[in-house]
Symmetry: C2
Subunit: 155 residues, 2 copies
C-alpha cells in the first residue's frame, strides 16, 4: 500500500511541477485535458472532474478570463452551456503533455522494458476497473457496451 501511495505522490508531484511550470494548476490542466476532445456541458464537466457545479463555474470563469476556454449557449436547451477549448488552451495543454511525457520518462527510467510493459498493463487494469465502478456508483451510467473507456483522461 505504501509503495502504491508513494508512486502516486511521485507522479502527482511531477504532474504538479509541470503544470506550475506552465503557470496553471492541476485542476486547470485536467480541465483542458478533458476539453481536448470533448465539448461537455457544465454539469458533465462537474461529473468528469467530480466537483460541484458551483466549483466548475469558478474554474471555467478563471480559465475563460485567461482565454483558455470559452462558453457557448446550447441551441437545443437554453439552460445548458457548452464549454470548449480555445487555440491558446490547446497549445498550452499540448506543451504540458509533452513535458509530462518527458518527466514520466525520467520517472520510469530505471525500469526494464518488460517492467514498463507490465506496469502499463496493471495500471490500465486498475484504472479501467475503477472507472467502471465509478460510472456505476456515482454517475449511475452504464459502461459503454464495447467496453471502451468513457472515462475522463486526466490529460
Amino acid at each position: 500500500m505504501d509503495a502504491l501511495a508513494q508512486l502516486t505522490f511521485a507522479v502527482q508531484g511531477a504532474l504538479g511541477r509541470i503544470a506550475a511550470a506552465h503557470d496553471v494548476s492541476m485542476v486547470q490542466t485536467r480541465l483542458l485535458g478533458i476539453l481536448r476532445d470533448r465539448h461537455p456541458t457544465m454539469k458533465e464537466l462537474a461529473g468528469l472532474l467530480e466537483l460541484d457545479k458551483s466549483s466548475v463555474s469558478g474554474l471555467v470563469d478563471r480559465a475563460q478570463d485567461r482565454g483558455l476556454v470559452q462558453r457557448t449557449a446550447s441551441a437545443l436547451d437554453g439552460r445548458r452551456v457548452q464549454v470548449s477549448i480555445t487555440p491558446a488552451g490547446r497549445q498550452l495543454i499540448e506543451q504540458a503533455r509533452a513535458a509530462f511525457e518527458d518527466e514520466i520518462e525520467v520517472l520510469v527510467g530505471d525500469l526494464s522494458p518488460a517492467q514498463r510493459t507490465r506496469l502499463c498493463g496493471i495500471a490500465s487494469l486498475i484504472a479501467v476497473a475503477d472507472a467502471k465502478r465509478r460510472c456505476i456508483d456515482i454517475l449511475d451510467v452504464e459502461p459503454a457496451p464495447d467496453g471502451g473507456s468513457a472515462v475522463a483522461l486526466p490529460f
Copy 2:
C-alpha cells in the same frame, strides 16, 4: 503514460474520499502521517511536504485548533518549534490508514497475486528512485549511506 496518470488519479481519488470521510483534507492527512513517527521542526515539515514555511504555519495552526497536533518549543534552539501528533491525531490517522487499506484492496481487487507483487516491486522502484533524485536535486542532501529511505511516507 495515460495509464499511469489515470492510476494515480484513481488512487488519489480514493485517498481524498477517505480523508474527506474522516473530515480532514489530503494535506492534513499527510501531515498526520508524517508525524506518526517523527517530531520535525516547522522547517523540516516544509521540506517533507514541499511547502513554504508560511503554508506550514497555517496548516499546523488549523490542525492544532482541532487538537490533532501540538507545538513544542525546542530547548536547544529557541528559534525552533517541534511539532508532534496528539492522541486524537494518532487515532484519526490510524483509522484513515485502515480505511485506505480497504479501499486499495478494492482498487487492486482484479489483480492476480503475481500482478500485485509485481506492482508493489515496480512502484517501490519508481518511488525510491524518485525520492533519491529529489533529495539530491531539491534538498541538496546526500542519500542515506545504507540506501534506506529517508523519505516522507505519504501516510
